[in-house]
């Protein structure tokens, strides 16, 4: 594999919109690069890819990339993408959302899309803060950090996308950072090949707002920190996240008390895994199942000698 030069990747961009409006050193540019790189390696045509984005700094990305692009309303990208995917099942639909976008206002759409296993590659950029509106707390803002709506520091436990993805039923969840660019590209490539709702959480930096208020004002320093803050595997977290109450359980009661390892780990600040966190190999996405179901209905009708009327 030869790494591609910016020159080639810029073919996937809309030159008249560059440079981006993102702040200097913002990880969103690195993510955008990785996405187009993954699409390049996958040999996808620009015309076969749709990028649906929400609102926020991240939402601007669909404007810069030269795909079929929709810059939608706040939090609703998965719902727009659902409609698009069902109208054009052949299209590779990518949604790109920020953390507040995906998990706060769009939490319901995200869960519903997971539950349906809609064939969407969902990329959630997690920078722990609302960037475009000026640094307010988001659902992923870590405990005890400062934001413009928590000048006296946050006391809320943050949302963990991983547990949401597991409980919601997504078949694929991976986590990457903007520090680990090559692995980021590879994870996106893998997500593109999943049939169903593939979720990639990318830890990114907002050194301008989050960093400045939390002693990490320099982009390179904040990105380098991501190496320490994410780890390749965290058995405690795995144990905690793999604890589901299965509706179809065979009568066994899962009882967890607050003294267990899993509960202890959850009280501590979240350390995060990196890489593919889980993958359901047999996943078949909604649109494929839906259209094959329609196919079956038609076949049955023909068999019964009742042509469509």
């Amino acid at each position: 594999m030869t790494l591609q030069t910016s020159h080639i990747l810029r073919d996937y961009m809309r030159p008249e919109t560059l440079p981006t409006t993102w702040c200097a050193g913002c990880g969103l540019g690195i993510i955008m690069r990785s996405i187009v790189e993954a699409i390049h390696y996958q040999g996808l045509k620009k015309d076969d890819v749709a990028m649906v984005s929400g609102i926020g700094c991240t939402g601007r990305m669909s404007g810069y990339t030269d795909f079929n692009s929709i810059h939608t309303t706040h939090g609703r990208a998965p719902a727009f993408a659902t409609g698009l995917k069902l109208a054009r099942p052949d299209m590779q639909v990518i949604t790109i959302m920020g953390d507040g976008d995906a998990m706060s206002i769009g939490g319901n759409h995200l869960i519903s899309a997971m539950r349906r296993n809609m064939d969407i590659t969902a990329i959630v950029v997690n920078n722990s803060i609302y960037g475009l509106t000026g640094g307010q707390s988001s659902p992923t803002t870590p405990m005890d950090s400062r934001t413009t709506t928590a000048r006296h520091r946050t006391f809320e436990r943050p949302m963990n996308l991983e547990v949401l993805a597991r409980a919601g039923g997504a078949p694929f969840f991976a986590r990457a950072t903007v520090n680990h660019t090559a692995s980021l590209t590879k994870l996106i490539e893998r997500a593109l090949n999943i049939s169903g709702f593939a979720l990639v959480e990318i830890i990114s930096n907002c050194h301008v707002l989050y960093g400045k208020m939390n002693e990490q004002p320099v982009a390179s320093g904040m990105i380098a920190n991501m190496d320490k803050e994410t780890m390749r595997s965290n058995p405690l977290l795995k144990k905690r996240a793999s604890y589901p109450v299965r509706e179809t359980a065979t009568g066994k009661t899962y009882l967890r008390d607050s003294n267990s390892d899993a509960a202890q780990s959850s009280v501590a600040a979240d350390t995060k895994d990196r890489g593919v966190i889980f993958e359901n190999k047999g996943s078949v996405g909604f649109s494929r199942r839906y259209f094959s179901m329609l196919e079956n209905i038609r076949a049955q009708k023909e068999h019964a000698g009742r042509p469509d009327d």
Binding site: S104, I105, G107, S137, A150
Partner: protein, 380 residues
């Protein structure tokens, strides 16, 4: 003794809310209203209030209804897209007569539009945004001073008439920095929520009084009652009895309409001898005010009616104005939402024209004057 302070509009709204007794705020960040949330996240815990950043605007609106029923004066602040999301629960607050204040700092729409640029396109959304024909109160601040004073009024109206009050600010005033006089708390007229005097058994939380409202009992103080979005009787229990529903409507309309003298706020400037008048509101009224000053220097008999209460619309005053002047010019950052109201009331008495745009730029005094002089040429 009032103190003088240099403040931004959003800051004046936040401080006005605290002064008015607001002790609960639930919101979601959205430009250009975010500073209100930021300031209140700082200030509310200091005065014993609660600030919660909710997961979206739908939840924010629901939470302030809950807090208000729990006895706290509550508010949320948002901008166009968030205001659209609040409409469902805003209707709930209207129907179940829960006092609260919804601050909408208007920006250019529709949809995401121009997030940082001012517009006045939500005038009709404030009136008709939620479904059903309901009365509503909407106030619009024309300066940073108004941001403070009218916020206090908004909370008073909300409590007095048990209704959501929409505070229709715009990015022109919210981002403006101005020196204002901040009244001392002893000088402020704050309406405290009255407590019911009757026994819990006799208490009718939704009494169909004419021209007024029953005191709203706080949950947990022994007055247990039912709150619903369904059409209800005086105790709050759902009903489909059309006679009761008709009584309810009469009560809902009369509590606002019988108190127009209190609710309708406007300022008049040199209207006594005016031959041509401006009707302006919100941030645009600042340019209109200046246009009057310049016109008077040039000998043009121009006057200004600055609306602070937009809904209910000051019909009587505007109708009288249409009888006294030849022409009314309505500058607004939309394509004629208030102008159409004025036209309706004028019914041909006076010519009504607009100065309209919604491209992110503001209306300048020069543009208003150009329209005024054009109208003067038209009328002999």
């Amino acid at each position: 003794m009032a103190e003088f302070e240099v403040m931004y509009g959003n800051q004046a709204i936040a401080e006005g809310a605290i002064a008015a007794g607001c002790r609960f705020y639930a919101g979601y960040p959205i430009t250009p209203s975010t500073e209100i949330a930021e300031i209140l996240s700082d200030r509310l815990p200091e005065v014993g209030g609660v600030f919660v950043q909710m997961e979206d605007e739908i939840a924010s609106m629901a939470a302030i209804i809950g807090a208000s029923l729990g006895g706290l004066k509550s508010a949320t602040a948002t901008s166009g897209p968030g205001f659209s999301l609040m409409q469902e629960n805003l209707g709930y607050a209207v129907g179940s007569e829960v006092p609260c204040v919804v601050i909408n700092v208007q920006r250019v729409g529709p949809s995401t539009g121009l997030p940082t640029k001012a517009a006045q396109g939500d005038v009709m959304q404030a009136r008709w945004g939620t479904h059903g024909d309901h009365p509503i109160i909407a106030l619009s601040p024309g300066s940073v001073q108004d941001c403070f004073d009218l916020t206090v009024k908004a909370f008073n109206f909300a409590e007095k008439y048990r209704t959501p009050v929409i505070f229709l600010a715009d990015a022109l005033v919210s981002a403006l920095q101005e020196k204002i006089s901040v009244p001392h708390s002893s000088e402020l007229d704050i309406y405290a929520r009255p407590k019911p005097t009757e026994s819990p058994e006799d208490y009718k939380a939704f009494a169909f009084t004419k021209g007024g409202v029953a005191p709203l009992a706080t949950f947990g103080e022994g007055y247990r009652y039912h709150v619903t979005g369904l059409s209800h009787d005086e105790k709050g229990y759902p009903t489909e009895d059309s006679a009761l529903v008709a009584q309810w409507w009469e009560h809902m309309h009369s509590k606002i309409e019988d108190n127009l003298d209190d609710i309708l706020l406007y300022e008049e400037k040199q209207l006594d001898d005016a031959e041509i008048a401006l009707i302006a509101y919100g941030g645009t009224s600042m340019a209109a005010d200046h246009a009057v000053a310049i016109a008077r220097q040039q000998g043009i008999k121009l006057g200004l009616l600055k609306l602070q209460t937009i809904w209910p619309f000051p019909e009587k005053r505007v109708k009288k104005l249409t009888e006294n002047v030849n022409c009314i010019v309505v500058p607004e950052l939309n394509f004629g939402q208030v102008r159409s109201e004025v036209e309706r009331l004028s019914a041909g008495q006076a010519a009504v024209v607009g100065v309209n745009k919604a491209d992110g730029n503001q209306i300048t005094p020069a543009e208003i004057l150009a329209e005024v002089t054009a109208q003067l040429r038209n009328t002999p």
